[in-house]
């Protein structure tokens, strides 16, 4: 007898309830749209399932040991809650996850930790401290067979078996439903300084950022954006500069951060460092970078492009000759956010063709349903890698019930 699964929204409170739900979906061959609180639901090809499963009711920090730099949280725990808890012990998530909520029409800090890891969202500090996935010490999840699986644990180093936790990072809920993540955290930096140059061309700015990354001053933020984007920021000197803004962040204990900022200015003398933000202004500025303030409030397609830093400016230059774009470079040029005009394909063909020349990949982060249904939101993979990806998907989710088609057509 075929029993149809209850369609609609399911938000189990426990792993066991989730196991039952997945079993029911398997029995009835019902695809599940998997999410946390849904703040990134509009990323990827629309899943179009009538059954949604959310981890939003699986919340709470089950273990936090500041002295061991480890935190274990249920997947549905809001990131804001985790960061507030860490702040009480002067600690933080070192990878400073970029908050896509505000550019996708949600509030800041609403995302869940499961969603952040599921999308492998890393912020500006990625260049120094590593990606979100690098901080995953272990996970618990339900696979596509409805089995509870775990990988890793709560200790700093672990090579016991294959690393499924970091593998699930960035899988956008297509391999398994994470129920708990264990993360490495670090002491928060007390002093933050931001050195800013104005009016550099893209090519010159990337050059400066790469020079800065080649200094021993532990630069933890390297951003460059056009004047029109800088206008969106609340810092008056940045917003009112009427010039492109190139920003470099250093952090540490106070005397060290000051020393690093000064040394950095010396190293970048030729690029005319004109402004230094103190801790307070720096924090405001980088928090706005984290929520992609420069791209909020518009519906235009927004791309996230990963490439070799030294190619980034040329890549953007080539694209600008095809259509009008607004670009911000992070990760010293290795990550480029590109806003395109509302073309029917969002600029997909040109972006990917240009990328083929320089190396790297592009993901469409913001677009309406029709556009996302019509183009490859995630970078199409070379056939060997695509075949390997299909095998991995099958190994976790043999019937393809989790977020089918969200990343790749099946």
């Amino acid at each position: 007898m075929t029993v149809h699964m209850r369609l609609g929204f399911h938000a189990p409170e426990t792993e066991d309830e989730l196991v039952d739900l997945v079993a029911e979906a398997l029995d009835t061959r019902t695809p599940l749209e998997v999410m946390g609180r849904g703040t990134k639901r509009e990323v990827g090809r629309p899943v179009g399932s009538g059954a949604v499963v959310s981890t939003e009711n699986m919340v709470g920090v089950s273990l936090y040991e500041p002295t061991e730099l480890v935190l274990v949280a249920k997947a549905g725990t809001p990131i804001a809650e985790i960061e507030a808890l860490l702040a009480e012990s002067e600690q933080e998530l070192p990878f400073e996850p970029v908050d896509l909520g505000p550019v996708l029409g949600y509030g800041p800090g609403e995302a869940t930790i499961g969603g952040v890891i599921g999308a492998n969202l890393s912020g500006s500090r990625r260049i120094l401290k590593g990606a979100a996935r690098d901080h995953v010490l272990g996970i618990k999840a339900i696979n596509g067979r409805g089995e509870k699986i775990k990988s890793g644990g709560r200790v700093m180093k672990n090579v016991t078996g294959y690393d499924l936790g970091r593998t699930l990072a960035g899988s956008w809920g297509t391999l398994a439903i994470m129920t708990e993540v264990s993360l490495k955290v670090l002491p928060a930096q007390r002093e933050v300084r931001t050195v800013i140059c104005f009016g550099l061309t893209d090519q010159t700015a990337i050059e400066a950022l790469c020079i800065a990354m080649g200094t021993p001053y532990d630069v933890s933020g390297t951003l460059h954006m056009h004047a029109a984007l800088a206008e969106q920021f609340s810092d008056e000197e940045i917003a009112g500069a009427e010039a492109s803004v190139t920003a470099l962040r250093v952090e540490n204990f106070p005397s060290s951060a000051r020393y690093r900022a000064n040394s950095l200015k010396q190293a970048l003398l030729a690029y005319g460092p004109a402004l230094e933000l103190d801790t307070e202004r720096s924090k405001v500025f980088w928090n706005e970078v984290r929520t992609l303030k420069m791209f909020q409030g518009k519906p235009n397609p927004l791309w996230r492009v990963s490439t070799t830093p030294s190619c980034a400016a040329k890549l953007v230059g080539n694209l600008s000759r095809k259509f009008e774009i607004r670009a911000a470079y992070d990760w010293s040029g290795g990550l480029v956010w590109i806003e395109t005009p509302p073309l029917t394909d969002g600029g997909s063909v040109d972006i990917r063709r240009t990328l083929a020349e320089f190396g790297g990949h592009a993901t469409l982060i913001r677009a309406d349903d029709a556009m996302r249904a019509g183009i490859d939101v995630f970078q199409p993979l070379d056939p060997p890698l695509a075949a390997l990806s299909a095998k991995l998907k099958h190994a976790f989710d043999p019937l393809g019930i989790f977020n089918p088609g969200r990343m790749y057509q099946e």
Partner: protein, 502 residues
């Protein structure tokens, strides 16, 4: 050989040995092929020397294309393959099988590109770990993971085991420093993943490959992150009258908001052996010694060492000494890095690699001491304390088969202790053959099945480095005979459930 079981050799393959060698020679004429017994014997073991097995043949290719041709041939002829770098595995990860060829990548050792503007290096998999840093040093850059064996071990081997090292407390382990690989699958397909940018497209295969102990594919090229050398680095020595005080001090340093670049721990036996070997200037009248290293400008170093000393004061160190010169610093590290070799000159040792939560360090050391006394072995402890990665070295006589069996039981008890304390079996050496049977201590059937499904998806015939990582007894053994999981599940339920943990 003591309790170790290896998969039954494929008699048909053994019988075809000459033919296989001949065909391989024809297939990759440029590659070095070792078929004589004497030559093959040089590859019969890795750094876990208690186990030996002479392989069918050894082949040393020069190019990715050759690796591809060899793997495709082995795939088509159902010949098992054991990939090998420098053979420094401490867990038997490169232990050959009688019916397997050893695919040794040591001749693929070119630096392909050093790009300091983008801070990456692209190298062949057989290049030694230290050679990456050497290639970038002139421009002031280095490759961060620094396992003790770094002068010998290869980057390919580092990827296979996700190697760490003393300085990974700050810089992370291999997985955190790897940006791309060129990899050959068992069927010969060449796949490129990632490149000279910070995230690879699609699923996160890099962390899956890293630490997979050569079971999913053979990495032939790697793109790794380079970092700028710090302005300066300086270690200090903190000596304590008890291991408990030293252990508590480690936790207090981390809790104090300081993450030094390294915190290494040595107990009395380790200190004495290393000092005798390297004349590193270690104090001999302490029970435990910490090497704490910090980095930065001169002022930053002074500030941090001051803070560390302040924190340490609560634990009454009997020795507090900052290194005064680069020479002294180098000596301090020489002693530490020579530890395994120094102890190896005195006695055979069995090196463990369990990890525990930092707060359990005093308890763990206490219990390890007790377990070793129970089995009547001496133990030296020398390890990366900052991340709780223990390396008890149990001293024994490898030529005494009774001792070998006993030392393995002793080691097993220590690893079970690590798990009971909330830790894991291995932090950086890998599971290999050594800890395979203990996997069920840490994982459930479902956990292991999920890993096995990935293995089967990428290497359906279990030809690539079989007999490692997964328990071979019980259901593991059936898998190795070629029963795939879905076939297993069709067997009677009691058979499927009945996995025996020896």
């Amino acid at each position: 050989m003591s309790t170790l079981t290896l998969p039954d050799p494929d008699r048909a393959v053994l019988a075809r040995r000459n033919d296989i060698v001949k065909q391989l020679k024809r297939l990759v004429p440029e590659a070095v092929l070792i078929a004589d017994l004497e030559g093959r014997r040089a590859f019969e073991t890795d750094a876990l020397t208690a186990y030996r097995c002479v392989p069918l043949a050894v082949v040393l290719p020069r190019t990715t294309e050759e690796v591809s041709a060899i793997l495709r041939f082995c795939h088509d002829n159902h010949v098992k393959v054991v990939p090998r770098g420098a053979g420094t595995s401490l867990c038997g990860g490169a232990l050959p099988l009688e019916d397997a060829i050893v695919l040794c990548l040591s001749r693929m050792s070119k630096v392909l590109e050093v790009d300091t503007e983008n801070r990456v290096a692209r190298v062949e998999a057989g290049l030694t770990n230290i050679a990456i840093t050497e290639a970038a040093a002139a421009q002031g850059f280095f490759y961060a993971p620094d396992p003790s064996s770094q002068i010998a071990c290869t980057i390919g081997g580092n990827i296979a085991t996700n190697s760490g090292g003393a300085h990974c407390l700050k810089y992370g382990v291999t997985v955190n420093n790897l940006l791309g690989v060129r990899m050959v699958m068992m069927d010969g397909e060449i796949i490129d993943i990632g490149g000279s940018y910070l995230d690879a497209p699609g699923y996160n295969f890099l962390p899956l490959i890293t630490g997979s102990e050569g079971q999913l594919g053979v990495v032939t090229e790697a793109t790794v992150r380079l970092l700028k050398k710090p302005e300066g680095a300086r270690p200090m020595l903190l000596g304590f009258d008890s291991t408990e005080s030293a252990a508590s001090c480690v936790a207090a340093i981390i809790a104090g908001g300081i993450v030094p670049v390294a915190i290494e721990f040595m107990d009395r036996p380790a200190i004495h052996v290393c000092e005798h070997f390297a004349n590193a200037g270690y104090p001999l009248d302490v029970e435990a010694l910490l090497i704490v290293e910090v980095e930065g400008s001169q002022d930053e170093i002074e500030y941090l060492l001051e803070k560390v000393e302040d924190i340490a004061r609560d634990f009454f160190p009997s020795v507090t000494r900052r290194s005064q010169s680069p020479e002294e610093a180098a000596l301090i590290w020489k002693g530490r890095k020579a530890a395994f070799g120094a102890i190896g000159q005195l006695s055979d040792y069995y090196c463990m690699d369990g990890v525990i939560p930092l707060s359990k360090l005093p308890k763990a050391l206490d219990e390890i001491g007790w377990i070793c006394r129970k089995y009547r072995f001496d133990v030296a402890n020398i390890f990366h304390a900052g991340d709780g990665n223990l390396h008890p070295l149990i001293l024994y006589n490898a030529n005494d088969s009774v001792q070998l069996e006993r030392v393995e039981l002793c080691g097993e008890e220590i690893l079970k202790l690590c798990i009971a304390l909330g830790g894991c079996l291995t932090g950086e050496h890998g599971v290999g053959i050594e800890k395979r049977e203990l996997m069920y201590e840490q994982y459930t059937d479902e956990d292991i099945d999920q890993q096995v499904r990935i293995k089967e998806a990428l290497d359906p015939s279990w030809l690539l480095n079989p007999g490692k990582v997964f328990p071979i007894e019980g259901r593991g053994a059936r898998k190795l005979r070629g029963l795939e999981l879905h076939q297993l599940e069709a067997l009677e339920p009691e058979l499927v459930e009945g996995h025996d943990v020896p």
